[in-house]
Point group: C2
Chain length 115, copies 2
């Protein structure tokens, strides 16, 4: 019987989970959307337009940063955050693999039914 993943989650699984968890918050998703538009932005800029505190936004940015989705560069007195596409691409590929696997399962099922 094929059970649940043996144990000791693989490093990749942990990474995917981290990235997903980082995206699992509407505020952070908004930040990602804003930054994926291209231009790096300062914390103050990103705080404008939300009802949240600068510190709250900062925390969210740090979460995104430690997931690798974003990185910051200090420039003068402001720190500018920029989008980093790699982790989202990896996640996308992972989801694509899951989809593909699922489609194959459906295919086998179908051919089984159809004889």
């Amino acid at each position: 019987m094929s059970r649940l993943a043996p144990e000791g989650g693989s490093a990749k699984r942990r990474q995917h989970a981290t990235v997903c968890a980082a995206l699992g918050d509407e505020t952070r998703l908004s930040l990602v959307t804003a930054l994926s538009a291209g231009e790096p932005r300062s914390i103050a800029q990103l705080t404008g337009g939300s009802r949240m505190t600068r510190q709250a936004i900062t925390k969210h940015l740090r979460v995104l940063e430690s997931a690798g989705i974003v990185h910051s560069v200090r420039s003068g007195r402001e720190s500018r955050f920029a989008f980093d596409p790699a982790p989202l691409n990896e996640l996308k590929d992972y989801l694509a693999r899951v989809s593909e696997q699922w489609d194959q399962v459906l295919g086998r099922l179908k051919s089984l039914v159809e004889g």
Copy 2:
């Protein structure tokens, strides 16, 4: 100045965040992997091979279920959970759009630099 998303997060954003949050846990990611292999499995089966309690696994399954990633069917005295690909596909597409947008940004930047 293009600020952060105006407010009132879109329904889609909320949905993506929910799906991501559901995937943002290693245990749940393991469950998804196990179920995406095809065969629906009972809670007891899914509990085997993990050091966690049946109730803990049950909770995780309910989280996945309310995110639409999985659905359960009661069969006799056991309830079997099956994978549901739609939410992950949507998420994948969303990530694809983000990637694409980012690539366009890089393209514009490049053509700007090259004159």
